[in-house]
Amino acid sequence: MLSVLLIVIAAIFFTGIIIRTKSLASGRKGPAILQPVRDVIRLFRKGVVYSETTSFVFQIAPTIYFASVIMAMLVVPFGQSRGVLSFNGDFIFFAYVLALGKFFTIIAAMDTGSSFEGMGASREALYSMFAEPAFFILMGSLALLSGHTSFHEIFAALHIGSQISYALAALATFVLLMISMIESSRMPIDDPKTHLELTMIHEVMILDNSGFDLGLIFTAGYIKFAIYGALIVNLFIGVIPYEYAIPSFFAIQFVMAVSIGLIESFMARFRMNHNPQFIVALTSVSLLIFFGVLLILQKFM
């Protein structure tokens, strides 16, 4: 239960902190930290406009997407406290319930019949496909290392290791951070601020969404970011007592948001055809973790 509470609190501030960091870095004051939340509340009060060319798929997709993110949030543990759901192989459930949500946003985008949204959908599908092996090799390695197959047990077992396991955790942080950037369509993969449909990935897929549905999609996006942040925190806190673990949860989330803000301020987006290379490179970092685990377990003769 604790993890759900913490993730929701982090999600409320996360996007606001990114935006504020970017504003400060470019010499502006920027909107209030809670502005993204206010935007969502405003959207929730609005009705929805549906395009005449869309079918029921377009109408149910935002809800399914939102629900999938909530489901994913439920399996994330926090230190020694389990997630609301915890079972063997829950990290596979985590990955595919998110993929289910993404599948629905993709077909909803295709459903609009817009050529822009089709392009966005194809890009999103391609990049998620490339990011998937990175996540599974990472989690598989950690499962191999700890000998468990659920998030809670993996993370609880992770801290009891040599220093090399902390090195692995650092690599894992990098992989998870990058996957979260890809999943949340942030720089350097996608530019969330652009007004140019031709260069968008995620933004272009939700061009036709409005009102309540758009609010759901935004909320799901904020939560998704915090979920990945929580996974990263879990790599480090292990069985540390709550009075240290909770502040360090927020500290790590804060650092993550600020560093995303800084990355987005001081570098340009990748050229679209470099994105697959970059994402596939993540898989190789995951493979490094895998070999590291094999070394620790002395599987090499």
Binding site: M119, L198, F266, M267, R269
Partner: protein, 501 residues
């Protein structure tokens, strides 16, 4: 002689322009363009006289610093051989003649509407049924963008034919901004209104177009602008160049999602346009340039102020450029993106910084000097590759060059003579033809005017550099990724209203 040789801004009686048969006209002009690389068509237009059309073609020779004018009279219903079949650079001009007057071309490869002028020949051609090029294919898909723009710029429709993410073909359909500006020049209006009209041909080239109009008017009325007038115009042209190039660098940074560059260049543009406001009361320099007048002389106090503005601008601009041009992620977006080859650029008659980025040296400031450019010993900045990187670099270097010129000019602020009455300017002389070439920030601006027997304007023809350069954009995106289109587009930053008139 089958043609008349004149200088920039030199008025000639219309009757002095030799009139030759259409075939000779075709051979002469298409032949002239290929002879040396320094020649290109600056304007080619028709003037209707009942059932006949007087075609006037102006070819500029950049090496000899002259313009060759020739003409031919054809029947409106005749079917002609096109110039375009021999030389691509006449393509848009002939489409325009076809659209406006209904002249048929037997071998024009791309006889489509240009801008849907209100008094066009064939009213059944409407903007909603533009004949787009299409490919019948299962694999390829079409992406239509516009006419409503995602941002705040002007309307235009872009139709891409793509193979996945790769653009195979782009067709640009314009005409949404057509206001009939050329016709408005002919209406009987006070001179001030005409000058205001010229300022609004393209909002980002206020100085360029108003200088071109002022020069046309002065040459028609036989007025010799004093040194102080030319001085103010030269500085205004260069300030406009600095302001727009800096703003465009900011826009290019926005399109590659480089926030720092976007906001710093955006901020740097402000002091320049604020200086223009101090100077003439308008940040876009509206009201600054008037024919025969120096309404806002650049006094020595303003000169001091401008020196201070440039002194604070330059170090920041240098530093930001150092950041931008040393950043791998930005360079990887710029380099080898949106290439226009030298051959293509010269074949389509590209002008201005677009041409110079592709290695075609085309700069009115050196080839047909106006204002004080002959004193400045201007050396055009040329890049070879024709990619986004070249165009961005040209912008950067031209800003430094403009700063250098302004500093040089500021050393000697000319005396402003007592305000003369501009009554001599009221009526142009009768039966004259004149042509004015001005290098605006985007490139060569050409205004042509013909006066009637009572000295009234009877034909006014405007050519904005965008007229040629839109084709360069269409060529540059071929085989690029569709996601790189915005940055290609921004690296040219062409005018919709300048094209649509």
């Amino acid at each position: 002689m089958h043609y008349l040789t004149i200088k920039n801004n030199q008025p000639v009686p219309v009757s002095d322009i030799p009139e030759i048969s259409y075939n000779a006209f075709l051979i002469l002009n298409t032949g002239m363009v290929v002879e040396t690389a320094g020649r290109h068509c600056v304007n080619y237009f028709g003037y209707p006289e009942g059932e006949k059309i007087l075609l006037i073609c102006c070819i500029a020779d950049d090496d000899e610093h002259v313009i060759y004018i020739s003409s031919s009279v054809v029947d409106i219903h005749s079917e002609l051989h096109s110039f375009t079949a021999k030389q691509l650079c006449f393509e848009k001009f002939e489409r325009e003649i076809h659209e406006n007057y209904g002249v048929q071309y037997s071998d024009h490869p791309w006889l489509k509407p240009v801008r849907y002028a209100h008094d066009r020949f064939d009213k059944t051609n409407v903007i909603s049924n533009y004949p787009f090029y299409s490919i019948d294919s299962e694999e390829l898909h079409e992406v239509g963008v516009g006419p409503i723009h995602a941002g705040i710029i002007e309307p235009g429709h872009f139709r891409f034919i793509c193979n996945g993410e790769q653009i195979l073909h782009l067709e640009i359909q314009l005409g949404y901004q057509h206001r009939g500006i050329e016709k408005l020049f002919l209406a009987e209006k006070p001179l001030n209104q005409l000058a205001t009209l010229a300022e609004n041909i393209a909002g980002d080239t206020t100085v360029g177009h108003s200088v071109a109009f002022a020069q046309v008017w002065e040459s028609l009325t036989g007025f010799e602008p004093g040194r102080d007038i030319d001085y103010a115009r030269t500085i205004a042209l260069e300030l406009e160049r600095i302001a727009i190039h800096t703003g465009d660098l900011s826009a290019v940074c926005t399109d590659i999602a480089y926030q720092l560059g976007s906001s710093v260049f955006g901020r740097l543009r402000t002091p320049i346009i604020n200086f223009l406001q101090e100077w003439c009361g308008n940040r876009l320099s509206k009201g600054l340039i008037r024919p025969g007048l120096n309404r806002y002389p650049l006094t020595s106090e303003l000169a001091k102020r401008l020196t201070v503005v440039l002194d604070t601008f330059e170090p920041d601009f240098t530093e930001m450029n150092k950041e931008l041009f040393n950043m791998p992620s930005a360079l990887s977006r710029f380099e080898r993106t949106g290439v226009v080859s030298t051959e293509d650029a010269s074949a389509i008659g590209a002008v201005g910084m677009t041409a110079r980025a592709s290695g075609v040296v085309r700069d009115t400031r050196v080839s047909h000097p106006h204002c004080l450019y002959s004193e400045l010993d201007h050396k055009p900045i040329v890049k070879r590759h024709g990619d986004v990187y070249s165009r961005v670099t040209i912008r950067k270097k031209e800003v430094f060059q403009s700063i250098k010129y302004i500093r040089a000019l500021l050393e000697n602020v000319p005396e402003v003579p007592e305000l003369q009455s501009s009554s001599i300017l009221k009526t142009p002389c009768a039966d004259l033809f004149t042509i004015s070439l001005v290098e605006g920030w985007r490139g060569e601006i050409c205004h042509c005017a013909i006066t009637g027997s009572n000295g009234k304007l009877i034909h006014y023809k405007i050519k904005d550099p965008s007229f040629h350069n839109w084709m360069a954009l269409a060529l540059s995106v071929r085989n690029n990724e569709i996601s790189d289109f915005p940055i290609c587009n921004k690296s040219f930053n062409l005018s919709y209203s300048g094209h649509d008139l």
